[in-house]
Amino acid sequence: MATTCTINISSDAAPGFGGISESMTLTQAGTIVDIDSTTGFQRRKLSSTGAVDLITMASENIEPKDSVASKVYIRNIGDGKGNIDKTVGVTIGVNAEPIGKLYGGDWMMMPLTCIDADDVTATPATDDTVVIEFVMFYEEA
C-alpha cells in the first residue's frame, strides 16, 4: 500500500544548475511503514474572492493524528474546462497564515500538522472561476 511522489525541476536560471529529481515514499512518522489514510482526490470550484476551507481538520469525516507525517498535494487547474490562466492566483493558507499563491497550472506538495485549528484554506485573487484539485494523506488517529 505505497504512496510515492516524484519531483523533477529543471531551470536555466543558473547555468550550472543541474536540476532536481527526487522521489519519496510517504510513510508514517518516524517509521518506514507506509502512510495508511487519504481523503481521496477532490476538486473544488471557486468563483469569488472569499476564503474557503479545502480541508477542515476538525471535520468528523476525517480524524488524522496531529503533528506526524501528513502531506497535501494541491493544484490550480484553471477553470476546469481546459483553460489555464497564469495570471489568476489562489492563495493557499494554513490557519489563516498565507503560504503562497498558486497561479494557473501551479502545484504544491507540503507537510501538514493536521491540528484542528490548522485548516487548509484557498483564497482566490479574483472572481474568475478557478478549480482546485487536492488530496491529503495522513495517519488515522
Binding site: 523533477n8 536560471a13 487519504t38 494554513v94 490557519n95 503560504i99 507537510p111 501538514l112
Partner: protein, 137 residues
Amino acid sequence: MATTTAAVTLTSDLLSDAMSVTASTTCMKAGTTADGLDQLEYAVVEIATGDEYDLICTTPTASKASKLYVKNHSIDETYYVAVTQNAQAIGRLYGGDWMFIPADFHDAAADIAMTSNGGTNKIEYALFHEGTVLTTT
C-alpha cells in the same frame, strides 16, 4: 526568458482504484504569462538537533511568485525538521521527505524556519524567485 519547470508524479494504491496524478508547471513571475522566474538560491545546510533557523538567507520580494523546494536528506527515518512560517506550524519533513510550495513571503516575519529534531538534519533547498532584498555591507 529563463525557464523553470516543476513536474510531479503522485501515485497511491490506498484506494480500491489506484491513483496516479501527473502535472507540470512552468514557473512564471507573478501574474505574467511571458516572463519566467529568473533567480535562484540553492544550498545544502546541516541543522543540529534542537536548533531553529530561517532557511532563506535574504528576504525575497514580498507577494511574488517564488517557489521553494526543500528536502530532508537525513537517512534516519526518525529524524525530522519541523517547518514553520511566521510562527505558524506547517508540518514535519522526516528523513527522505521533500516539499515544494509557492512562497510569497508576504511580510518580513513570513520567513520559512526549520527546527531540527532527532539529530543533525541535512537540508537541501532551492528557492526560485524574482528578486530579493539584498543586505547592504
